[in-house]
Symmetry: C2
Subunit: 221 residues, 2 copies
Amino acid sequence: MISQTEENYLKALWNIISNKGEASVNELSKQLEIKMPTVNSMMKRLAEKGLVIYESYKPLKLTDKGKKQAALIIRKHRLTEMYLVEKMGFGWEEVHDIAEQIEHIQSPAFFEKMDELLGFPKVDPHGSPIPDKTGKIEAEQYIRYIKLSDCREGDTVTFMAVSHSSDDLLKFLNSRELSLGSKIKVRSIEPFDDSMTVSYGGRKAEMLSNKVCDKLLVRPA
Amino acid sequence: MISQTEENYLKALWNIISNKGEASVNELSKQLEIKMPTVNSMMKRLAEKGLVIYESYKPLKLTDKGKKQAALIIRKHRLTEMYLVEKMGFGWEEVHDIAEQIEHIQSPAFFEKMDELLGFPKVDPHGSPIPDKTGKIEAEQYIRYIKLSDCREGDTVTFMAVSHSSDDLLKFLNSRELSLGSKIKVRSIEPFDDSMTVSYGGRKAEMLSNKVCDKLLVRPA
DNA sequence: GTAATATGTTAGATTGGTCTAACAAAATTA
DNA sequence: TAATTTTGTTAGACCAATCTAACATATTAC
Ligand SMILES: [Mn+2]
Ligand SMILES: [Mn+2]
Ligand SMILES: [Mn+2]
Ligand SMILES: [Mn+2]
């Protein structure tokens, strides 16, 4: 009914909308690395199918049906990432590309089994929430984490999620042994470049650039 | 480089060739439920790509490159089936359709990991051999099993594989608690319909139709 | 408020993967 | 061997998914 290609468009739309509030043809085009005219006609097709609300020159929206479909693909993606890390021994920096493919597998039983074997996890290995079977994200998880870069000297916080997880960032965090759940204390902030010196786990004075701190989502103690 | 669609053609070709010695456009067409003209043009494409040897009105062949590619897809299929049964708790009758999709995942690391977690299995849950990483099937596994239907009264054999495993057959075998590795003794053969009365495991006198016996591959004791 | 730039749309081409209809060759049957 | 049936091929259509080129509208800068 809905193709792999269409699923990828839906998912990208969902991601943009939940980060920035609304989506444009231009952004989608950049995100997917597909030219604007192609995106434009795909939006019309998805509108035909009742998944997207398309009006010329207006921001793109998802219908409720579209939101649900998208969330269910995200669910499959995140369950897969969790499974790969927890049950197969992959590192959190290795799983995205595999999940990008497995999210399109058509087999409710397969993902049911994953969910079960994992004990019905609420978040993926990068701290992002896993939508439930109806496409909803539990209220508790709407809690808006704050960026580490928005913290002040002396703050103590818990590292909860990575906002835009690139391979390079994840490998950097691996190298500093900074993982989800770590309690981080902000020792000092360098006024010149906003870099932070923090302590956590065994590490007593790690320096993190502002670019890094901007990607780390934390919960105040 | 090679699409999911092309992979399915290659695999079907490989299966037909290894069962019947050679393949025709007609057989491929039936197997894949795709009309002959479509198959015909796909064969030309795969010939272009050096995977198939195509000559008008002659039987279809795979090149060495084609054989290897096909075997590597079969490898992914069978490793997946084994993983689903051994590590995720699926029944042997549930895994084929999922494997049919997962076999197309592009990620050497993913299948490496499966192989490793499974302890480098040599056969899939239906007793079919798993090609190695170079696409070869180990010599030992070339052993030609015989059909249970070719056995005689009094023979004792080990159930090694299912030849054409349909859902219905596998469910039937489940219901009779007849699984791979069972030692089967042929008690009697009914001359009228060639049905067999056999004993194995806890069961002392199970009646198996000729249609069933024809699908069970066994190794003489 | 006009000019320049960025964003969005339309038109038309291309490729992959499928089909049906018509024709051709090979195999089977009479 | 001739007729019939089965198998294989060619031609031409269609839809999904992509592109480039050209044009239209909105936004931003001056
Ligand atoms: Mn991901
Ligand atoms: Mn994807
Ligand atoms: Mn199978
Ligand atoms: Mn397949």
